[in-house]
């Protein structure tokens, strides 16, 4: 298959035969996956299921043993500016000497190109992105002085400022307060309704049905994928998490 030909262009994310291993333990095994454009998709699975590895492999941050990945039909290298990525909050040192606006401007560095510095236009766009996540009053605040939820919003703003059609978030709701979670979800739903594709690594099974319309269940292999309505079933949940989950995972009980 040639690189300049579109492969599965009708899928926002298309993954085929993807296998990743750390040493001799497979982290992901023979993943086949399609996420259509315009959905808000949860990637769920137990700890160690390979959720973060999956998106890191999709973004080219982890080298797969086998398989290929396409975003809207193109390899990730051709789609860099069109994918907004929100890494896990704990992946960086928040004692870095900088403020919230500066971090958001980092989302524009790529479009600036080599050697050029962000100017007045970048500043305005960063402030607008901060306002979108309700952080306009904290633009000049040192990032070490932000709460966990505020740091997460800054990270989200850094992805938003790129104005990308595809957004990928790694555990954005981990360790944030209820207010921040509500802000993030409302914003993501708005983006989805505006036609963006939102892919979220998510850990809270009880909110999957109310937040998302598409889901991928993962435990090293793909357990199930599709619209939440058809995929969020006791059988699938048991297959992904084991039989002890029956109580939490009753779809009827958790329905919105």
């Amino acid at each position: 298959m040639r690189e300049d030909q579109l492969h599965e262009p009708d899928q926002a994310l298309h993954v085929e035969d993807l296998t990743v291993s750390y040493g001799d333990t497979p982290a992901l095994w023979d993943i086949d996956l399609d996420i259509p454009p315009g959905v808000m998709c949860a990637i769920i699975g137990p700890n160690g299921a390979g959720k973060s590895t999956l998106i890191k492999a999709a973004l080219g941050l982890v080298r797969p043993v086998a398989g290929h990945v396409r975003f809207l039909g193109r390899p990730v290298a051709q789609m860099r500016g069109q994918i907004g990525y929100v890494p896990q909050r704990h992946s960086v040192d928040w004692d870095f000497p900088t403020n919230a606006r500066d971090v958001v401007e980092m989302g524009l560095y790529r479009s600036l190109g080599w050697f050029r510095r962000p100017g007045r236009d970048a500043r305005a766009r960063a402030l607008a992105a901060l306002a979108e996540v309700g952080m306009q009053d904290y633009a000049d605040r040192q990032i070490s002085q932000l709460s966990g939820g505020q740091q997460q919003r800054v990270f989200l703003a850094r992805a938003l400022v790129q104005d990308a059609p595809i957004l990928i978030l790694d555990e954005p709701m981990a360790g944030v307060d209820a207010a921040t979670e509500a802000v993030i979800i409302a914003l993501l739903k708005r983006l989805r309704d505006a036609g963006r594709t939102v892919i979220v690594v998510h850990h809270d099974l009880t909110t999957v049905q109310s937040y998302f319309d598409w889901m991928v269940m993962l435990n090293i292999r793909i357990i199930a994928q599709g619209p939440v309505r058809e995929t969020y079933t006791p059988e699938n949940l048991r297959a992904a998490y084991g039989r002890h989950l029956a109580l939490i995972a009753d779809p009827a009980g958790a329905a919105p």
Binding site: L61, F96, M106, Y109
Partner: protein, 376 residues
């Protein structure tokens, strides 16, 4: 002859300041990327290269020495990378192994060369702990050249270096050549080390990378300020250390530079506004005082309410019982100065009583309605 007019002292001062500035600038990035110990391993690993340079050039030739140091330093970095990738060992273990093995080889070579005697061994020891007086005017050109290249790269690739130092994963996802950028930063640190060897010595070189950055971080709120201040502190520590050592017979420069830099670090850790220990202790004290004052006001108001008399005078024992302990006289005096309470006497009782003023009542109401915001 005045100190500054001596050509030798001028050379030494300029060289030490240049080197300190380069190390400070690059050290800021190394510290933020948590790579300070890599600098330690690289500088120790430079020793065998220094010796090989001596052997091949047959004496103290700065070019040969620097080339040798750079080659074995790079070899050490490569070994470390291989150990981390190919074995189960973690970074700290790999650093320890590589550092000690290369340093051991270096010390063996030093003793071999000294055993041979002759002109070749003269000046070798200065590379262990540094000797600022050994800096030649010609060396300044090399230092200046390295400094200019480093400064140029940092200015040209400023936003890329910032992004890679803060969030390399995001940088990679954005399509930046992260491996290349990290390699450039590491090579520049190696260059700074190689240039600084004869001044500070392989053993203590790492302090000139870490100390200025650690001190600068305390005082600054942006990367630009941190890198700039770190370079300034490095230049100052280098110049001061070189001056002390060059004017005192037989005092190795490295330890003196490190001690000067350490004093700056300690002062910064203690005194810097916001992050300094003294500053934080004072902030905690203020917070405690505010809380205790609030409790005094609340107790006085509650007793006054019990008596249905806003101007009720509260006896010492009553106040102590309401609070669990008598507040410090200084706190009561402070409240009185702020016009929130008034000392009064309630004859025939000779002991002091306290009553809330109008302002005191208002403040107590405000405190009970809206608790003071935690200082952030």
């Amino acid at each position: 002859m005045g100190l500054a007019s001596s050509a030798i002292v001028q050379t030494v001062l300029l060289g030490a300041a240049l080197l300190g500035a380069i190390s400070g600038m690059l050290g800021a990035f190394a510290v933020l990327r948590r790579q300070s110990l890599l600098g330690d391993a690289l500088s120790h690993a430079a020793l065998p290269g220094v010796c090989l340079g001596f052997l091949i050039a047959g004496g103290r030739n700065l070019g040969a020495v620097m080339l040798g140091a750079f080659v074995t330093g790079a070899l050490a970095a490569l070994c470390m990378m291989l150990i981390i990738r190919r074995t189960q060992l973690k970074t700290d273990a790999a650093l320890g192994i590589v550092l000690s093995v290369f340093f051991a080889v270096g010390v063996v070579l030093v003793t071999v060369i000294q055993g041979q005697g002759g002109a070749g061994s003269l000046g070798l020891m200065t590379f262990l702990f540094g000797q600022a007086a050994a800096i030649q005017p010609a060396d300044l050109w090399i230092m200046g050249g390295v400094g200019l290249v480093a400064l140029g790269l940092v200015l040209a690739l400023w936003k890329e270096f910032k992004l890679v130092s803060f969030d390399p994963d995001f940088a990679r996802a954005q399509g930046f050549r992260v491996t290349l950028l990290e390699a450039v930063l590491t090579v520049m640190v190696a260059l700074a080390i190689v240039v600084g060897l004869q001044l500070v010595g392989v053993v203590l070189m790492v302090a000139l990378l870490i100390a200025p950055a650690a001190a600068a971080r305390q005082w600054t709120r942006s990367l630009g300020a941190m890198v700039g201040l770190s370079a300034l502190i490095g230049a100052g520590a280098g110049a001061a250390g070189a001056l002390i050592s060059a004017t005192t017979r037989g005092l190795a420069t490295g330890p003196v530079v490190v001690l000067v830099a350490t004093v700056v670090v300690i002062l910064s850790l203690l005194l810097a506004p916001g992050r300094g220990l003294v500053w934080q202790a004072m902030a905690a004290r203020r917070a405690r005082a505010r809380i205790s004052d609030g409790r005094v006001l609340a107790a006085l108001q509650s007793v006054a309410r019990d008596h249905d008399d806003p101007a009720h005078r509260v006896a010492r024992g009553v106040l102590a019982t309401a609070l669990g302990a008598m507040p410090a006289p200084a706190r009561l005096a402070a409240l009185e100065r702020r016009g929130l309470i008034r000392t009064a006497h309630q004859p025939p009782d000779p002991s002091p009583h306290w009553e809330l003023t109008e302002a005191g009542h208002a403040e107590a109401r405000a405190l009970s309605g809206a608790p003071a915001e935690p200082s952030r």
